[in-house]
Amino acid sequence: MRRWTTVAAFVALTSVMASCGGGGGGSASAAPPSVSGSIPAAPSEAASASAGGSAAASSAACNPPRQDGVKLTFASFGGVYQDAQRKAWLDPYSAATGVEFTNDENSSNATIKAQVEAGQVTWDVVDVGNDFGLDANKDLIEPLDYALIPRDEVLDGFAGDYRVADITYGVVLGYNTDKTAGKVPAGWADFFDLQKFPGKRGLWDYSEGGILEFALMADGVKPADLYKPSLDVARATKKLDTIKDNIVFWSSGAESQELIGSGEVAMTMIWNGRAWSAKNTDKKPVEIQWNQQIVTADYLVVPKGSPNKDAAMKFIAYTICAANNAKPSSYIPYGPTNKNAKPDPAKVADLSVSNADENSGYFDDTYLIDNFKDIDAAYQAWKTK
């Protein structure tokens, strides 16, 4: 008995220390992934397709009523990303409506789950990655009020019953021009060609972040056929085996930016905003190959039981409305989701949606969430083999 007392005391001691030491928390894991099923029309074609019926909804969404005294808590991924959202949406919204915002910078699916299960929902609007907000999570989030939010203006496949995409971005091939000696990799086939392009390759260590899709594209699978009838994980890992010794895994956006900027890897899979920062902020020789990018998104959701649900819906409608939706693009190269929204002309060339074409891929989020166990088990088996 006494022995166990000592053991228990020891365990308590070490776990207290561990929690102090591990203060970084989940920060090693990545920030915004994202997704959607069907293939959105390219924004240029879509622009003309705006339905007359949505005009009323859209204008109401763009012109919210005064709501003095209302307080909303907005949770997102922090950093320059959340700064952009604040400047583009939160600050103007406060000025127009009197709504006061509290910002939380550590959006996490797990926190939403914990808040909802404990009945202590303090987040009203949350920016989440593409791996959340689907029917599989319907116990945790409120259905969106599409009487307010102009659903038919959103790119096809980027608005669901429980979530609507607020920004789009691309998972792209980034390359260091010093390391490729001026040559331009044409797509993922070149990424896997160590003869033509020697050097290491950066990949996100996450089974559903694009690594398998890119391997399949490199192996000749058309983007539209990635999930038809199912994601061929065996084929993808076989392709990955051909570069396994040259892979450098990253687990956060900052890390990918550093890897490609320093030239430790010649090419990497990277979120387009991070590649942009490597080039424009860090002044490194980094370029993006948009061919065969995966276009994906971050989504807004309302945790189930939010005490400010109605106000949250009004705010979401405001961010999605055509006049406002593209505003973050002035501060960060993330594009709109509203077909009628006009991004900052200075940034258009740097946006994922502007570079989308028939070679672009799209995650099938529903498929991925439903098959996660099998996909991830196969991925782990490959990785640790």
């Binding site: 053991v7 365990v11 776990s15 030491g21 430790e264 996660f372």
Partner: protein
């Protein structure tokens, strides 16, 4: 050491404890642990069999049926073990040095051990990245000297993980060692020398055995803490240096599969408890920590 602890001190009985009103002072700590540690632990552990509702043992069978997860589990214990041995090899001479130098120098050495403690784990891990990567300090230096023609692979290897983890964990080894070594009367060494022992054998046969409680305390602390690492192996390790905490974080944070995540945590916890229990059979933990803490 253990003899006088075992024989000399009588253990207070529960009744004696109740009779002593000073023992009530321990109550807040017990309540704190029960409410903020034990209760959440039990609640979370329960989820491994109740999430999803009809889970039963399915989360556990899923874990043990998969070779990949088992490889990660074994790897976790292996990395923890190697880190522990590394800390001991580095920490033992260091702690010994602290006991033989003057008080002022010992103070400086103590600060040297504690200093990294005051910066965040993340910062220290990133610092190792800067040192170890292909374009990092070591490789740049060797390349410039012409000693190597292509960068050495230092980062994203098991070596990188061991370096990073040992650096972070070293204070947990040095402090208990130092606490025990400081109490060893230098007269013992002189007595051994007087009786004809050469310095090395006096050290090995007198000093080392007397310091063993510190060794055990340090090793247990470092080993158990090492089992829970995930940021360092993620940033400094390669494909094969995955530790189980990384999988747990992913299940809890991203996949929201709390049943499976807690099942993995429970597996890790149970194995750790078993190891502690076995260790407590071999050495008396109480004496170990008693001697480390008493000073």
């Amino acid at each position: 050491m253990s003899t006088d602890a075992a024989g000399g001190r009588s253990r207070p009985s529960l009744r004696g404890l109740a009779g002593n009103r000073w023992s009530l002072l321990v109550l807040p700590a017990v309540v704190f642990l029960a409410v903020f540690f034990l209760a959440p632990l039990v609640t979370m552990s329960m989820r491994s069999v109740t999430d999803p509702q009809d889970a039963g043992l399915s989360n556990y069978t899923r874990f043990f049926a998969d070779e990949a997860y088992l490889r990660v589990l074994i790897n976790t214990f292996w990395i923890a073990l190697v880190s522990t041995v590394t800390c001991l090899v580095v920490g033992y001479p260091f702690a010994y040095l602290m006991t033989v130098v003057s008080g002022r120098v010992a103070g400086l050495l103590l600060i040297a051990v504690l200093l990294p403690f005051w910066s965040s784990l993340l910062v220290r891990t990133f610092a190792w990245q800067v040192i170890l990567r292909d374009t990092g300090i070591i490789n740049r230096f060797l390349l410039d000297l012409g000693l190597i023609s292509s960068p050495l692979t230092l980062i994203r290897t098991t070596l990188g993980v061991i370096l990073g983890m040992s650096h972070i964990l070293l204070p947990f080894m040095v402090l208990p060692l130092y606490a025990v070594m400081r109490r060893i009367d230098p007269e013992y060494g002189r007595a051994a020398a007087n009786l004809g022992a050469p310095p090395m054998s006096a050290f090995l046969r007198v000093f080392v055995p007397l310091s063993l409680p510190g060794v055990v305390a340090g090793c247990l602390l470092v080993f158990v803490l090492a089992l829970g690492f995930y940021i360092t192996p993620a940033l400094l390790g390669g494909l094969h240096d995955q530790m189980i905490s990384q999988l747990i974080v992913q299940q809890i944070q991203q996949r929201l599969d709390w049943g499976f995540g807690t099942a993995m945590s429970v597996v890790l916890m149970v194995i750790t408890l078993v190891i502690l229990f076995i260790a407590s059979r071999l050495v008396r933990l109480r004496d170990v920590f008693g001697s480390a803490v008493e000073e």
